[in-house]
Point group: D2
């Protein structure tokens, strides 16, 4: 299990608004099996097996091209820990319990 953050930024779009393209990426995530995800103000975070997550990221990266964009910059940050199970909730809980909440 890995936790992966993905940001897909289309370049050369008609306006500075990107929500249409982000929504296209989230639509991919909604239909994808084998992963869980969370939308954040700076992208999406995905939890699952790394090879499956990559398949999904690959589809997200194609979305702006399908809408007519000529260039896409996609950033993927993979947190892969193998001495214990890593989950989105577990990562946040570990920090919050240290903060005494």
């Amino acid at each position: 299990m890995v936790v992966v953050e993905v940001s897909v930024v289309p370049v050369g779009t008609p306006s500075a608004s990107l929500s249409e393209y982000v929504a296209g990426c989230v639509a991919v995530l909604k239909q994808a099996g084998g992963i869980t995800y969370r939308l954040t103000p700076m992208g999406t975070i995905i939890e699952g097996e790394l090879d499956r997550v990559w398949e999904v990221v690959r589809q997200m990266h194609e979305q702006p091209f399908a809408k007519g964009c000529a260039r896409v910059v996609t950033t993927v940050r993979i947190d892969d820990r193998r001495d214990k199970k890593l989950t989105m909730d577990g990562k946040v809980s570990a920090v919050e319990s240290r903060l005494g909440r």
Copy 2:
């Protein structure tokens, strides 16, 4: 107003667990005026004026050194939009309204 994502990764720590160091960064955010923030499974997201946000990021980056680390890799992604007010909630709402929720 900008929305900024920050990830602080100490290198050469005694264990693979980083929650102690993330908690130190969140403690900085809790006490910082002039910004709002959100903890995510992959870092923290901060909203505020860019120069103020940088002051806070600068303090977060120092936290692992204060705990004895010799090396820190900090990643900062700045989303700065000036034709309309950018907020963490506004960014997520724009996507969700397109998705029909």
Copy 3:
């Protein structure tokens, strides 16, 4: 053709030096067919077909685990342009020719 930047950061290593792990990643690149690469002070940059580049990144990401690390944070930034051929040299030349004008 895409141009992709990769940074592989092992977490919880015995020292703050990472050159051993970076060298392991570069050894993967040296033997990999179908791509070209360049080592920079902040990671490696790879040029090739996206699916092939991912196969190579996948192997790079495994290197620190093979050396005993328990956790790895890998960052991948993909620049994919489809209205013209994107290359590492072409990207730098385009900037330099503008600066020399």
Copy 4:
């Protein structure tokens, strides 16, 4: 001394070409005192004191706005090591000497 990688991506530009904007950022670097830099196919890498580097990054981030862009996404990755002097050349040399070149 830190080594910092910077990528400035304007959003909503008239074309998918970004070399004009990258050249504007490199022009800032050429005139900046107190740092050294290197242009790569995926951004620029800067070496110097962290507070000075940030001042320069701040100016780079403003360049696309000065050219009329409404939105800019800037990514900054800071490698800060304090048990030994970190330099761009030293980082690459350490890897190459391990590879036996």
